[in-house]
Structures are given as structure tokens and as C-alpha cells.
């Protein structure tokens, strides 16, 4: 074989004055970047294998380690950047599609950071959430067109609703793409804080049935692990059409990740590839989608709301309108910055549209058509903090989905190597040696803490605006002002510029 032109991405710096040769780094690195040189009695590193996941840095008891960007520079070129050139070297060596994990990391505009929130001054009082009640409870599902009241009592039949204590849910991540300990962490956290987690299309492991009332069970194009008890087990059912990180692309869980438990949960033979087709082969139109929605409702006696998850793409508003009319109770929209366990790099980085614009367009369209009450809108695709949640709700979302943020709370360092199955944090791996690194009790506490922290912050932000219930913020775009946006963008967002 000829010489590889790939150079290391990262440089491992070891402070020899601090290194005690305990070799914790050697034992912790699944990429085998650290190794023990027996002859020289020294810990050494192979920089080329480092993915900058910070596992060794975090575990080093003497803080002897630093990871830096590899200092080797290409000749400066604004057009041919280092990552572009390195990608070509890799493809010239392999002839393959470039794969990656997590969300789009390119510097596209982040509209959340161009939206600012209002606050009360003089003319209306702000509210202190520590002294006064503040309501974040959220119900997701179809709301009736009108409320019939007879003899002072509500007689209108209310369609099934998902009840959330905070308008945040953990979005779909399958057992297979992430470890059972990661799912157990999220499921237990969801139960603790009164929200939902989502099975993804990996089926429901037998240990997770006890979290049923906090579970959204997903039905995707591969139909993995779907059976009557599965559909009955959750609080809601989600049909996955698309994913923000890879709109139009299916999924592929390689056979090496399909161990005994994954195979039993997904109902496929051990060691076989789990391939989710790009489309549902029984859905080629809105009418077909409607059939699946009603099949699932029929299978669960119309007791559970049905959600349809789509990626944010160009014609999102019309598609969402069709989904609402097809009978969905919830529409989940995943923006182009949404994460993934594995996606083709070029798809992840170039397909789809920002969730902020998609959300505003869909909410406006459904209002114009008078069908906004028929569906709840859930948005995801890089909701990074509580301010993003508040802005999303002000733009028209009923709730948000978070996954990357949830994984970061479990220890993810965004090294974007989920697809390799060597996750040093025990999250995106099925290797039992790595999975056990994530203690689900610690994970549940950290993920629950994150939601509780955001809950406090959301209440503070609402209080500052003089609002005491999240219901009053929903679609209240007057609480937003845009900065650094074009007229056209402001128009789509339905937001006034700052100062107006």
C-alpha cells in the first residue's frame, strides 16, 4: 500500500512533570491512542488515533493531559480548507462515502442567536417565579375545535393528550445507536421530571416497559421491534418519516452492533445489519400516511396520540399541513442541525433547512388554514439551552425535543464518532466494556438535573416577560425581536426587528 496522506487531527500533550504513569488514560481510550511502553516505562500516545473526546483528560488524576488541534497547517486558502482537503485524501484512499455522527457542524446562521426576548418594564409588572406560581405544564395532542358545555359541565370529548411537566422531551434515539445504559438514564430521568423519552426505531427493551407512561414508541421504515404490546406500552406513538441530520436517507445499524439483546429487542437475527429503508415502502402519499396513522390508532383503541416526525425541508409548511389533515395529533419537526448516530457527511452538512424558519413557516401556515388546533408542534434539531426553548415556544412550538443536549448531560463531548461504536463515554456503543462506563443512576440524575435547571431558567425568562404560564407565550411572537436579519427572514419568522 502506498503512503497515507492523512495527518492527525489532534495532538496529545502529556506533562511529564505531572504524569504518574498510572495508565488510566491507556485503559480508558477505546481508540488506543495512549499506550504503555514497557521498555521505556513510559505512557506514550499515537496522536493519529485521537478523536478529542476528552475521556483521558477528564479521567487523568493529575491533569497531565491536554488535547490540541494538530498544529500542522496547510498553505492558507479560504476556499480549500483543511477539512475539505483531508476529506478528499480520505476518499481517495477508501473510495467510500464519508460517514459522521452528531449534528451539522458547519457555520450556517443560527437564528436563535438572532432572536431576542422581551422583558417587562414599568408599564407591566414582571413576575418572580420564586414567589409566585408559574405554570409550564403542557398537553400535546389534538385540541377540539370548540368546547361544548352543558349544564355548566364540559361535555366535549377531549382526544388523547400527552401530559408534560416541562415542554421538553428527549427525542428519538434507538437501542442500537445508543447503549441500553444511555436509554435507561434518559427513561429514568423522564420519569423523574415528568416528561417523555422516545425509543427511536430500536424497539423497547424488556427492562424499559416499566417506564411506559413516559415513553413515546416509534414506528419507522424498518418497523424494528414493532408488535402489539410495544404499541400499547408507550404513552404515544411516533411515525418517523425523516430525521434532521439525514432527510431522505434511511438508517443502517451494522451487524456488529446487533448483539443478543439488540437482536431480541429489534426482532431480527443476531449479527445481521438492521437496514431502515429511506422511505416507508407503504407510504408514498399523504393518503398512505393517513392509513398508517389510523392503523396505529385502531391498534391502540384511539387511546394514544400519534405523532409524525419529519425533517425540516424546503416545502415543510405544505407537508405539515398535509400531515395535520392526515390525522396526526402531533407533528415533530427536526431541523437540519439535528444529531444522528451515523449519517453521510455531505447529507448531514448540506440537506434540510434551519428549524427556526421551518417552525415559523409551519405555525403560520397551520394558523392561516385554521387547523393549528388539530396538531401540536414539537421541534428539535439543536435546541441548546433554555433560551432556545423559550424562543421556540414564542415562535409557535408546543414543546421541544432535545437529544444532543441530553447526551451532553450524560457525558458526550461531541467528538462526532458515534458511528464508530467506540464511544468512550459509554453512550453510542454496544461494546459491553464501554457500555458499563455509563452508570444509569448517575446518568438519570444528570439528565434530570438538566431538565430541572432549564425549567428554572424558563420560569425566570417567562417571569421577566410578565408571563405566568407557558400557554401565554405559545406563538406569542411579539415577545421576540430580530437582530441582524434581513427583511425577508424577519418576514418568514413573523418577528419585528429590534427597535420596532
Amino acid at each position: 500500500m502506498t503512503i497515507s496522506m492523512s495527518t492527525p487531527d489532534f495532538l496529545i500533550e502529556r506533562d511529564r512533570d505531572r504524569c504518574i504513569k498510572c495508565q488510566v488514560c491507556v485503559r480508558q481510550c477505546a481508540n488506543e491512542a495512549h499506550f504503555w511502553d514497557e521498555e521505556e516505562q513510559k505512557v506514550k500516545a499515537n496522536d493519529a488515533l485521537c478523536v478529542d473526546c476528552h475521556r483521558c483528560v477528564t479521567y487523568c488524576p493529575t491533569h497531565a493531559l491536554t488535547i490540541r488541534k494538530y498544529p500542522l497547517e496547510f498553505r492558507e486558502n479560504a476556499n480549500w480548507t483543511a477539512s475539505t482537503i483531508k476529506a478528499i485524501y480520505r476518499q481517495a484512499e477508501t473510495g467510500g462515502i464519508l460517514l459522521t455522527g452528531m449534528g451539522n457542524d458547519r457555520p450556517y446562521p443560527i437564528f436563535w442567536d438572532h432572536l431576542l426576548l422581551n422583558a417587562s418594564q414599568v408599564t407591566n409588572p414582571s413576575i418572580d417565579p420564586l414567589r409566585e406560581p408559574m405554570e409550564l405544564k403542557t398537553f400535546l395532542g389534538r385540541k377540539p375545535d370548540q368546547l361544548k358545555v352543558e349544564d355548566g359541565r364540559l361535555v366535549e370529548e377531549i382526544p388523547p393528550q400527552l401530559e408534560l411537566e416541562v415542554p421538553i422531551m428527549f427525542s428519538a434515539m434507538s437501542y442500537g445507536s445508543i447503549s441500553l445504559n444511555a436509554i435507561k438514564s434518559l427513561a429514568a430521568a423522564a420519569e423523574r421530571v415528568g416528561i417523555m423519552y422516545n425509543t427511536g426505531e430500536g424497539g423497547l427493551h424488556k427492562d424499559l416497559y416499566k417506564y411506559g407512561k413516559n415513553t413515546i414508541v416509534q414506528v419507522a421504515s424498518g418497523r424494528f421491534g414493532v408488535h402489539p404490546e410495544y404499541l400499547q406500552a408507550g404513552a404515544a406513538i411516533e411515525i418517523k418519516i425523516g430525521q434532521g441530520a439525514k432527510p431522505g436517507i434511511g438508517g443502517h445499524l451494522p451487524g456488529e452492533k446487533v448483539g443478543l439483546e439488540v437482536s431480541q429487542t429489534r426482532m431480527i437475527p443476531e449479527g445481521t445489519d438492521a437496514i431502515s429503508p429511506a422511505p416507508h415502502h407503504d407510504i408514498y402519499s399523504i393518503e398512505d400516511l393517513s392509513q398508517l396513522i389510523y392503523s396505529l390508532k385502531e391498534a391502540t383503541q384511539y387511546q394514544k396520540p400519534v405523532s409524525v416526525k419529519i425533517a425540516a425541508v424546503h416545502n415543510i409548511a405544505a407537508i405539515a399541513s398535509g400531515i395535520a389533515r392526515a390525522g396526526a395529533d402531533i407533528i415533530a419537526i427536526d431541523g437540519f442541525r439535528g444529531g444522528t448516530g451515523a449519517a453521510p457527511l455531505r447529507t448531514r452538512d448540506n440537506v434540510g433547512i434551519p428549524i427556526e424558519l421551518a417552525l415559523a413557516a409551519v405555525d403560520s401556515r397551520l394558523r392561516e388554514e385554521g387547523i393549528r388546533n388539530q396538531v401540536s408542534l414539537v421541534v428539535g434539531g439543536s435546541i441548546r439551552n433554555s433560551a432556545d426553548v423559550v424562543k421556540a415556544i414564542a415562535l409557535g412550538a408546543d414543546a421541544v425535543y432535545i437529544a444532543t443536549a441530553a447526551l451532553i448531560s450524560l457525558g458526550c463531548h461531541l467528538c462526532q464518532k458515534c458511528n464508530t461504536g467506540k464511544c468512550n463515554w459509554g453512550i453510542a456503543t454496544q461494546n459491553p466494556q464501554l457500555v458499563k462506563r455509563l452508570n444509569p443512576e448517575i446518568g438519570a440524575e444528570r439528565a434530570a438535573n438538566l431538565i430541572m435547571a432549564w425549567e428554572h431558567e424558563i420560569k425566570e425568562l417567562l417571569g421577566g416577560m410578565g408571563i405566568n404560564a407557558v400557554e401565554s407565550l405559545r406563538g406569542n411572537r411579539l415577545m421576540l425581536r430580530g437582530v441582524g436579519l434581513s427583511d425577508r427572514e424577519l418576514n418568514i419568522l413573523g418577528v419585528l426587528p429590534a427597535g420596532e
Binding site: K21, Y59, P61, K436
Partner: protein
């Protein structure tokens, strides 16, 4: 009595318990770098991570109710404290005959030949007090210190 129990299902085998145990029982209990780099002999951990990947768990003296090591000790250095239940080795009386090592059913006693030869074993950090350092420093809560028999 309170004992340290290992939770094998979440032990990642990082051996930070060994590192911190060695430091706590070194000449520099408060300085990890000096303990390893300045002390003339390498500090010895009194806890040992047993491994056969993917299985790993930390093992240390179980402080047996009817401790064989105390019966086997030829000098009376190895004693079980009737109040605390801790089995401790009085290093001033230990002559390094290693009989305790021979009889320990867990293999939890090591040889310390850095000074005059003595048996080295877990003292539950009784000299430090409070929670043993291995439990304090386990990054994954895979060690628990409890007086109940730990069950998964």
C-alpha cells in the same frame, strides 16, 4: 459493619481506586504527584481491580467476621478490632512471614517490601476517617460503602 462493595456491572476498570488508595497510604497522602514521583518506592494500592474483560471489579479486604488471617498471624500483628470490626495489621509487630497471604481466601493482602517487610492490606481508611478514598474517588459510583449486604 460498613464494608466496601463493588458493583461489577458498572465498574469500568479505570483503576483510579488503586491510584487514590496508593496515594492515601503513601508518604504524601495529600499530593498525588509527589506520592508517585517523589517517594523512593512506588506507593502500593491496597485495593486491586480484578479484570477479565468486559468484567472488572475492585477487591479489597472483606474484613471477615471470622478472619483467617488473624488466626494465622504468628506475631499477633493482624487483629480484628472488636468495636469497629476492621481487620488491621500492626506494622510494628508484623515480621513479613506472609502466612496471612497464604490463608486469605480473597487474595486481598499484598507484600509491602518498601521498608521492613510487612503485609499490606485495606484498613478501610480508618486512619483517614470517613468514607474510604477508593469509594470517594470512583468516577462511576461502582464502589459503595455500606453496612447492609449490597445486592444488585
Amino acid at each position: 459493619m460498613k464494608r466496601v462493595y463493588a458493583r461489577e456491572e458498572i465498574c469500568g476498570g479505570c483503576k483510579l481506586c488503586e491510584v487514590h488508595c496508593a496515594v492515601a497510604h503513601s508518604q504524601y497522602p495529600n499530593d498525588i504527584i509527589k506520592a508517585f514521583l517523589k517517594q523512593k518506592t512506588k506507593p502500593i494500592a491496597r485495593i486491586l481491580v480484578e479484570e477479565g474483560r468486559p468484567i472488572s471489579f475492585a477487591l479489597q479486604c472483606r474484613h471477615c467476621e471470622d478472619a483467617p488471617c488473624t488466626k494465622a498471624c504468628i506475631t499477633g500483628a493482624m487483629q480484628k478490632d472488636p468495636v469497629t470490626g476492621i481487620v488491621a495489621n500492626d506494622e510494628t509487630r508484623c515480621v513479613g512471614c506472609w502466612t496471612c497471604i497464604l490463608v486469605c481466601p480473597f487474595g486481598a493482602i499484598k507484600r509491602d517490601e518498601s521498608g521492613h517487610k510487612v503485609a499490606s492490606k485495606c484498613d478501610l481508611c480508618a486512619t483517614v476517617g470517613g468514607t474510604p478514598v477508593c469509594v470517594q474517588n470512583c468516577p462511576n459510583d461502582a464502589l459503595v460503602f455500606t453496612d447492609e449486604l449490597w445486592r444488585r
